[in-house]
């Protein structure tokens, strides 16, 4: 069970969080303008790298805020971008 640094609450147990998958996949600004293929790519396709991965997390059983972090999918090492 990894420790996850919530930007609002600090290090908390993994069980308090939910993972929202790959970060940086914004909702398209004009979905109607997209082809079926482009829309399907937004809906269904995500990266699954071995190594550092930018992810979205939410502190479900805490402050309920969403944030992003980079987690190494092999070592679980976590880096939080402070911006």
């Amino acid at each position: 069970m990894i420790l996850i640094p919530c930007p609002w609450c600090g290090d908390r147990e993994e069980t308090e969080f939910s993972c929202g998958g790959q970060a940086g996949v914004p909702y398209p600004s004009d979905p109607v303008a997209l082809s079926d293929e482009e829309w399907a790519k937004y809906l269904f396709f995500r990266e699954n790298p071995r190594g550092p991965f930018r992810e979205r997390w939410v502190h479900t059983h805490g402050c309920r805020r969403w944030f992003e972090l980079t987690r190494d999918t092999v070592t679980h090492e976590i880096h939080v971008r402070r911006d």
């Binding site: 069970m1 990894i2 420790l3 939910s18 929202g20 914004p26 909702y27 004009d30 979905p31 109607v32 997209l34 079926d36 829309w39 399907a40 937004y42 809906l43 979205r56 939410v58 479900t60 309920r64 805020r65 969403w66 679980h76 090492e77």
Partner: protein
């Protein structure tokens, strides 16, 4: 002190283990092996014991080497397997959550030195009785980010987060491999010394193996060390270090491993699994090379002892038979738990309602008093029906349905999720979340609404009430209250942070009673001054005022097709409201029948995450005007727009059919046309009926399909009062 083992009573001493007492009493055997029924005896003085397993009362598979003697203790020997006893373990187990700067595992010389040198908060644990620090405590699991789970005296679980961990876990003596090395009286040299060189016992030793289990659990690498003849920790782990003999330091040089002559089928490698050199030879003969594969083939190391004694010898034997260096065979990966841990101990006090709390509404006492039969909806206890004396569920539901259709009935709807949506951009927010539009929804009115995921599939439905210019209350299905709130929050925070909207859960703050039936207006008229006639209080309108003297928000919503009012009050006054309403109480079963007769789908029952609003025949709820909303783009995807999708229809079967039944075109066919999603007996229709998802269902109306051989006619999903004549009360 007296204790009983295998039916014989023996004298014991305070502070002894059961194993020590047996050996002191001259019991060098007394046990048998799992598969071959060979006589066995105490072999070790620690947690690696493979033979001396006992059952004490309800507690199975205890190691006699770890059991502390108590006066009157009764132990039965076990051959490798314990017995589950059909009584719950009522022992009270505890859990402690601890944080420290340094956790030191092992209070030998190196461990104590490490603990003394450490700064800050230090926790020192050790398996020994009377050891420094936490005694009789085993770390059984070491997980990511220095999270350790330790068990103290089989009574208490320690869940420890440590900034740094020092493993001073020492080494385990290895058995020697030779014919009949399993005979009673043969024991490891260290145990022989610990037990005071018992008469008739034979000490053996195959060298010492570093106790690398926790290092390996934390994903530390291992390398073979020729000098000690066993794997030692290799490389580095963040925040974990090994000290003392676990690194191999200070351990004696291992004797060179050699297989003696003799019967290989009597040279035991894993005593608990009864696996021998002959078994390893068979595995290698079958072409297996990796020690992980040899382990799976022979089951070596898979007993409750988990290979603490056997694994290193298995590698040595396999290497010898293959004539390779042990390093080439790899090592096994050690996984938690280091020792068997009972589920009751891990659960601690988180059992029963503390593990899975029951949620009840403020009206619950009245349901109990009325003898309701409950069903679980998520964690909620909801009344399913209220049987009178001698009634089964079908009879109770018939009576409850009749009351709702012909006079007046009431249902506790407090479990429905309620989300308060406030802010200057609330309308825009709801327009994006739901498929329908809210610009034209007037204050004091409400609207049925559907919410989809971006893939266009229905996620939830409910009623959106506009209670102020910038304030709405959205209801959700009972099971989706938390997921819908989380879903709304996600979009608000991550995609639309510019929207000025705030969300608050009100589910438990309000109690809601649905008052249903043609006489509901008359019933409420006696309890409120709110004008109730059709013109003053139209369908889908909201009114405020006192009901039975309780401040209330009343909505004209109907999930049954009958004239109905939903009365919302402060949760603390829900019971008082319920008791002031003289109506037949009905439960979720009747609610389901009433709504199904009207063809109203239930999200999660008639839908399953692959169903669009169009599939349900609800094109009318999908706004054609809004530029976008969550799910809109998917309605024109090829797969969502194709003909032949499953659509919601009604079924009129010749007999009751079961929910979930596959529907086929003729009784001999197996080609699935769809499945039954809801099935009930109807008083109003005087017959059984069902709802189903059927491929191109609406084009098939009038056709016959078969459910488990029972013929059913496909009909429109609305079976009762298609004209909606009863919505405003009993038709003239």
């Amino acid at each position: 002190m007296r204790f009983t083992f295998a039916g014989t009573e023996y004298p014991g001493c305070e502070g002894e283990t059961l194993a020590a007492a047996l050996v002191r009493n001259g019991v060098l055997g007394g046990f048998h092996s799992l598969y071959r029924n060979r006589p066995r005896g105490v072999y070790t003085a620690g947690e690696e014991e493979p033979n001396a397993l006992v059952q004490i009362g309800a507690r199975p598979l205890l190691r006699a080497t770890l059991v502390e003697l108590e006066d009157g203790l009764v132990a039965e020997p076990l051959a490798g397997k314990g017995r589950l006893v059909a009584v719950p373990d009522e022992t009270r187990y505890d859990t402690i959550h601890a944080h420290c700067d340094v956790l030191v595992v092992g209070a030998g010389r190196s461990g104590v030195a490490a603990a003394e040198a450490a700064a800050g908060r230090v926790i020192l644990v050790d398996a020994g009785r009377g050891a420094a620090g936490l005694s009789r405590t085993w770390v059984v699991g070491l997980y990511d980010d220095n999270y350790a789970v330790a068990v103290e005296a089989e009574r208490r679980v320690w869940r420890i987060r440590a900034k740094r961990i020092v493993l001073a876990t020492g080494a385990i003596e290895r058995p020697a491999v030779y014919p009949d090395n399993d005979r009673p009286g043969v024991m490891l040299a260290g145990a022989f010394e610990r037990y005071g060189r018992p008469a008739g016992a034979t000490p053996v030793s195959g060298g010492w193996s570093p106790r690398v289990h926790l290092w390996s659990q934390a994903r530390g690498r291992l390398r073979w060390d020729d000098r000690v003849g066993a794997p030692v920790p290799d490389g580095e782990l963040r925040g974990i270090e090994c000290v003392g003999s676990v690194t191999g330091e200070g351990l004696p040089d291992a004797p060179a491993f050699a297989l003696p002559d003799g019967d290989e089928d009597a040279m035991f490698v894993d005593l608990e699994r009864d696996s021998t050199v002959a078994d390893v030879r068979r595995a290698i003969g079958a072409g297996l090379r990796s020690v992980e594969h040899v382990k799976r083939y022979t089951t070596i190391g898979t007993g409750s002892e988990q290979g603490k004694l056997a694994n290193v010898n298995a590698i040595c034997v396999a290497a010898e038979l293959l004539q390779v260096h042990p390093d080439e065979l790899g090592t096994t990966t050690f996984r938690p738990p280091y020792l068997p841990v009972s589920f009751a101990l891990l659960a601690g006090r988180d059992r029963g309602p503390l593990f899975d709390p029951a949620r009840v509404t403020p009206i619950h006492p009245a349901h109990l008093a009325a003898g309701a039969v409950f069903e679980d909806v998520g964690q909620w206890k909801r009344p399913r029906f209220y049987p009178h004396a001698g009634e089964d569920m079908d009879a109770a539901v018939r009576r409850e349905c009749a009351a709702a259709r012909e006079s007046v009935a009431k249902m506790d709807a407090s479990t429905l999720g309620k989300i308060d949506v406030q802010g200057a951009d609330a309308v825009e927010f709801l327009n994006r979340m739901y498929t329908n539009a809210f610009d034209s929804l007037a204050v004091g009115r409400c609207r049925y609404a559907v919410m989809c995921k971006p893939d266009g599939m229905i996620f939830d439905d409910g009623v959106v009430m506009r209670v102020g210019e910038q304030r709405f209350v959205c209801t959700t299905t009972t099971g989706n209250a938390a997921p819908v709130l989380a879903w709304m929050e996600e979009w608000l925070q991550t995609e639309w942070p510019e929207l000025r909207v705030w969300l608050t859960s009100l589910t438990e703050q309000w109690a809601t009673v649905a008052v249903v039936g043609p006489d509901s207006r008359a019933l409420l008229a006696g309890l409120t001054r709110i004008p109730l006639d059709r013109g003053a209080f139209p369908f889908m309108a909201i009114r405020g005022g006192a009901v039975a003297g309780i401040p209330a928000r009343v909505c004209r919503i109907s999930f049954s097709g009958e004239l109905a009012y939903e009365v919302n009050v402060d949760g603390r006054r829900g019971l008082e409201l319920w008791q002031s309403l003289d109506a037949t109480p009905y439960g979720t079963e009747t609610m389901h029948v009433l709504r199904a007769e009207k063809g109203y789908p239930i999200v999660g029952q008639d839908t399953d995450g692959t169903v669009t609003p169009q599939d349900l025949g609800m094109d009318w709820i999908v706004s054609a005007v809004k530029a976008d909303f969550v799910g809109k783009r998917s309605f024109t995807r090829a797969d969502t727009a194709r003909p032949g999708r499953k659509q919601l229809v009604g079924l009129l079967p010749a007999d009751r059919i079961r929910e979930g039944t596959q529907l086929v075109a003729d009784p001999g066919s197996t080609a699935m046309l769809g499945h039954v999603t809801s099935s009930y007996d109807s008083v109003a229709l005087g017959r059984p009926f069902a709802l189903a998802l059927v491929k191109s269902g609406r084009e098939r109306i009038g056709e016959t399909v078969y459910a488990d051989g029972i013929a059913a006619e496909i009909v429109d999903s609305v079976l009762y009062d298609r004209e909606g004549a009863r919505r405003d009360g009993r038709p003239a």
